[in-house]
């Protein structure tokens, strides 16, 4: 990195920076050379940071009013909604914020899949991202349990029971998770403690995620390696900062729409009924962002195999950098991969849809086909495609496609830029 020899201009700045080089870090972050062709799909990293901070802040203040006790939790949530000043707003932002967080993370992940951002040398960034994603699911699941409604209780029962599929020790593990013989007060209090902890683990991993990103630098829509810094890059500030903020503004409009106009549309009415261990709701469904995995779980007729398939659906993502054998990153230059990519998007949407439907008849058949395709995409299609596919020629730099590939013109432009300065 070129800014290691940075010297602050003020005397105090220099004194401070010699002792703790925070200003060097700040300089690195503002100057960070970023590919100048990044499109709006690249703004979701910033949007996700916003989502995480929103969840931490609203969660902190909700925790000042929430009571983690099986007899009091449900009433304390209604207390937040009716009595606490702006409690309704804080809770709706927090609850819908979880959905917005997942919306953004799915776009972020699928952007990575399209442009091959997970490939060498960015495997560690990708794996850290998958760990963050798994922690997000754990945090969201435990958070959904806290209001202690019917869906909270039965969602917790179904998900913790997944661990009972483990051979031999399954039952003991589930009893240990519950702290009893069913989901009850001990389960609620520990879920609250963990729900409070996980966002800070995520925050730490986000720092590592960004650190790992800043070693090779951003991938870009063309997917070629760039000289950094060069005429193919712009400094992070102000160029990317302003673009990220504009995208964030648009995202916040969507966010605000849910919070103010349909705050309950992404939840389940059953969760406004207090938890009752004697009555299971007729149709248990997880939150929308977990539906594809729920569909995979239910599509396998065997309990243990279903649980394995569900976890494997996430695990297969972690080894994706080694399953995709193609050296070309961007789908722009992979005509066949591009088509399979969109089939995968459709496949995941179908899984999400059938995950919300009863597991019977045609829905079950569709879920099974979609599950098989999901695994085939990663385990069969991607490894073969890298070897068989005829990719399109890559440009040498970002300016080349703009200037028609003329080296002379590129050089001329470079010269005129210099003259303008």
């Amino acid at each position: 990195m070129s800014d290691h020899d940075y010297t602050p201009s003020s005397k105090f700045g220099k004194w401070f920076n010699d002792r703790l080089p925070l200003l060097t870090l700040g300089k690195h972050l503002t100057d960070y050379p970023t590919p100048k062709n990044l499109n709006y799909w690249w703004t979701f990293g910033g949007i996700l940071t916003f989502c995480l901070i929103t969840q931490i802040i609203t969660g902190l203040v909700l925790a000042m009013h929430y009571i983690a006790h099986a007899d009091l939790a449900f009433a304390s949530v209604e207390h937040i909604m009716r009595d606490v000043n702006y409690g309704w707003l804080l809770r709706y932002v927090h609850a819908n914020g979880a959905s917005m967080f997942f919306l953004a993370v799915y776009i972020h992940i699928f952007r990575s899949l399209f442009y091959g951002s997970y490939k060498s040398p960015r495997e560690i960034i990708w794996i850290l991202g998958i760990i963050i994603y798994v922690l997000m699911m754990a945090a969201a699941f435990m958070g959904y349990v806290l209001p202690w409604g019917q869906m909270s209780f039965w969602g917790a029962t179904v998900i913790t029971n997944l661990f009972s599929a483990i051979p031999f020790v399954g039952e003991s593990v589930v009893t240990w998770l519950w702290g009893g013989y069913s989901v009850d007060n001990p389960t609620l209090t520990r879920f609250f403690a963990l729900h409070y902890l996980i966002p800070f683990l995520i925050l730490g991993l986000v720092v590592l995620h960004i650190w790992a990103l800043h070693v090779p630098g951003n991938n870009n829509p063309i997917g070629i390696d760039l000289q950094k810094p060069s005429k193919d890059t712009v400094p992070f500030h102000p160029y990317i900062v302003v673009k990220d903020l504009f995208a964030l503004l648009l995202f916040m409009i969507v966010f605000a729409f849910f919070v103010f106009y349909s705050p309950n549309i992404l939840g389940h009415a059953d969760n406004y009924i207090e938890a009752d261990p004697l009555v299971t709701p007729t149709h248990i469904v997880p939150e929308w962002y977990l539906l594809p995995f729920y569909a995979i779980l239910r599509s396998v007729p065997d309990k243990l195999m279903g649980v394995i398939a569900m976890f494997a659906a996430i695990g297969v993502l972690a080894i994706l950098p080694w399953l995709d054998t193609s050296k070309i990153r961007s789908a722009v230059f992979r005509p066949l991969y591009r088509q399979f990519y969109w089939i995968l998007v459709l496949d995941v949407l179908i899984l999400g849809y059938v995950g919300a439907m009863p597991a019977e008849g045609l829905y079950l058949l569709v879920a099974r086909v979609a599950t098989a395709y999901y695994f085939a995409h990663f385990l069969i299609i991607l490894p073969l495609l890298g070897k068989k596919e005829r990719t399109l020629p890559l440009p040498l730099s970002l300016t080349e496609p703009v200037l028609g590939g003329s080296v002379a013109m590129s050089a001329a432009k470079h010269k005129s830029e210099k003259n303008n300065l």
Binding site: W154, T157, V158, T160, N161, L162, S164, T175, W176, L177, W178, G179, G180, Y181, S182, V183, D184, P186, R190, P277, L278, V279, T280, P281, T282, H283, I284, R298, P301, D302, K303, L304, G306, P358, A359, E360
Partner: protein
């Protein structure tokens, strides 16, 4: 020279012994942190419950809470008993004789928890006139045995005894 290098000396022994003592110490500290999550004394204290069954009519069932879990106590009709006892045991997914599940054929006592993922099955529903789990579609017969669907085993029969003709003690 290489012989001298590979020879285990006093320092290697001290280092290895230190690691070993350290590992035991860490394990000793971690165990209380793990075990505190297991059921505590107050949870275990509620291990048994007594139920008055004198008001249950034939063909009806009641649901009681035991260790936070629902327990079905069903007073079966002769027709339901016959149905449960006439099944060929070899065609069951989890072969268990009805005689072993209900020592007193009139009374079936079992945990009302689907063995798939823990939902509470609905009474008098499903293809086998027993129970049906709405969560993922498991069908149980009049003996609470799994007949169709994803659940791996029959509904569990807890330890229970008749204290007298009107009272059952579960646990």
């Amino acid at each position: 020279m290489s012989e001298k290098e590979t020879k285990v000396n006093r320092r290697d022994f001290v280092v290895t012994a230190s690691y070993a003592v350290g590992a035991v110490g860490v394990a000793g500290v971690v165990w209380p942190l793990v075990d505190q999550m297991n059921p505590d004394a107050s949870v275990k204290a509620l291990a048994s419950t007594e139920v008055d069954i004198s008001s249950v009519e034939p063909g009806k069932s009641i649901t009681v809470l035991w260790r936070g879990k629902p327990v079905f106590i069903k007073r079966r009709t002769q027709e339901e008993i016959d149905k449960a006892r006439s099944v060929d045991i070899n065609e069951l997914k989890h072969p268990e004789k009805d005689e072993d599940r209900a020592a007193n054929p009139e009374w079936l006592v079992m945990l009302g928890i689907c063995t798939h993922l823990g939902c509470v099955p609905l009474n008098d529903k499903g293809d086998y006139d027993g129970w049906f789990c709405p969560c993922h579609g498991s069908h149980y017969d009049t003996s609470g045995r799994i007949r169709k669907g994803p659940a791996p085993t029959n509904m569990e029969v807890p330890k229970y005894e008749f204290i007298n003709s009107k009272t059952i003690k579960i646990g």
